[in-house]
């Protein structure tokens, strides 16, 4: 009886796990991002996959990121900002602090970074230069 119960429990656990793991054909991409050798403290990384540029974003924290990305050929866009001490006043009645984007355009708005994402797990690290 006890053996049967244990077996039944395993079957239930297996069924629950299989039932929940369905859906989503994304791959996991992890890596480190450095700019001029220094880890990027707060930033964002976006993989734009395929000719239509299907986007998958993740946060870069202290130089590391983990993203869920659909497999395929991707253009990579990396942004990171730091406070500039300046303010924007385009909204009458309000001053908003503006930052300074210090990653060059060749890594974001007109990115030349290209990577191929494989199914499963990928390790993609980027060392960005001025």
């Amino acid at each position: 009886m006890r053996v049967f119960c244990v077996r039944a429990a395993w079957v239930l656990v297996a069924a629950a796990t299989v039932g929940c793991s369905g859906g989503g054909n994304t791959a996991t991409v992890t890596g480190k991002v450095t700019f001029e050798g220094e880890p990027v403290k707060d930033g964002s990384i976006t993989f734009k996959v395929g000719p239509a540029g299907k986007g998958f974003s993740a946060t870069i924290k202290d130089g590391s990121y983990t993203a869920q990305v659909e497999p395929g050929d991707a253009v990579v866009e990396i942004t990171a900002s730091r406070p500039s001490g300046k303010f924007d006043t385009s909204n009458p009645g309000e001053k908003t602090p503006i930052g300074e984007m210090y990653i060059p355009k060749k890594y974001n708005t007109s990115s030349t970074l290209k990577e191929t994402i494989k199914p499963g797990s990928n390790e993609k690290s980027f060392d960005l230069k001025k």
Binding site: A52, F56, S57, A58, T59, S84, N91, P92, T96, M101
Partner: protein, 340 residues
């Protein structure tokens, strides 16, 4: 052996079995009840979008054009620059067609919000119309609706729905796009609504049944400031609030990029726990990033409600083909798409 004849109660095993069966039945029932509730909310939500489409069509019947996407300081009509009600968008001019004639009259008569240079901005208005909650603009699946804020302030009304500004990314042979097409605050990103737009239904050459008119978004931290998140009609329009972009699929993990996100931390970014893919948002101003856009988002399972130019409501799946979606967002791209 008289025990069996005089037995009155249940044994412990029998009681446990009954309790276990009841527990399993409740376990089966509860998720079903929640799903029914969500299905009802989704139906209400799609009905709201239908009403919104009817309002836009009634405006078109009256003026022979769809309402403008938005306008901002410096915009002109017949070479005369506007001075009143800067940042007006489709929401305000459609108020009379959403059974909010009283709010519209208040709005047109409001003299607050005028600066020393003579320019009047709607985000500085203090009349009652600014806080008026328009019932058909709230999605019941979003626990934060009816929203407030997204226009620098914390009290004005924020809706759940916005019109489609367009967004198409393949210009030639799969090259990456220019910011102008992506940016919903730019002159014409290709949809039925944009800055100073006056699109007629006949201008929608892809066919109104093939072109998206409106869809929904998520209200992030209710009642906090921020500028430009979807639905912040009272001043957030030039920062992205009036529209959504079809550049990325609904509920994408790609960041919405508005002027400032509600509840953004010192990094300028924020996500909503529990929302599909976290509904991420990054503050374009704080981070000094170009372009402004919101993507369609919702708490419905697997997609968003949307209404097409002919007033038909469709449920758009998160998993649909991105190119088809982008072609649906633009009014005259000339691209033939299957599966629409």
């Amino acid at each position: 052996m008289f025990r069996s004849t005089s037995r009155r109660g249940f044994t412990l095993i029998e009681l446990l079995v009954v309790i276990a069966i009841i527990a399993i039945l409740i376990g089966l029932l509860l998720p079903a009840v929640q799903k029914v509730r969500e299905a009802a909310a989704r139906a209400k939500c799609s009905n709201n979008l239908k009403q919104l489409a009817l309002a836009l069509h009634n405006y078109h019947d009256a003026y022979q054009k769809l309402p403008l996407g938005f306008r901002d300081a410096g915009d002109k009509e017949n070479n005369v620059a506007f001075v009143d009600r800067h940042r007006e968008n489709w929401f305000q001019v459609c108020l009379p067609y959403m059974e909010q004639g009283a709010a519209y009259n208040l709005y047109m008569a409001d003299t607050t919000g005028r600066n020393a240079d003579g320019n009047q901005y709607i985000h500085q208005m203090t009349g009652a119309e600014v806080t008026t909650i328009v019932p058909i603009m709230n999605c019941p699946s979003d626990g934060q609706a009816p929203g407030k804020g997204a226009n620098g302030g914390t009290t004005s009304f924020q809706g759940s729905y916005a019109v489609c500004a367009g967004g198409v990314s393949w210009t030639s042979n799969g090259t990456t796009t220019t910011a102008g097409q992506l940016d919903t605050a730019s002159t014409d990103p290709g949809g039925m609504f944009y800055r100073m737009s006056k699109v007629r239904i006949t201008d929608v050459q892809d066919g109104s049944s093939n072109t998206l008119m409106a869809s929904e978004g998520i209200i992030r931290k209710n009642g906090s400031g921020g500028w430009g998140e979807l639905g912040g009609f009272w001043g957030g329009a030039p920062h992205g609030a009036y529209a959504f972009s079809t550049f990325q699929l609904p509920n994408t993990s790609t960041w919405d990029r508005v002027y400032t996100c509600k509840g953004a931390d010192s990094t300028g970014r924020t996500t909503v726990p529990g929302a599909p893919n976290g509904a991420p948002c990054e503050s374009g101003s704080t981070l000094n990033l170009p372009g402004r856009w919101n993507f369609a988002r919702s708490y419905h399972t697997g997609g968003v409600n949307s209404v097409m130019g002919d007033g038909s409501v469709r449920f758009i799946q998160n998993s649909m083909d991105l190119r088809t979606y982008q072609a649906m967002g633009t009014r005259s791209d000339g691209i033939v798409t299957s599966n629409q």
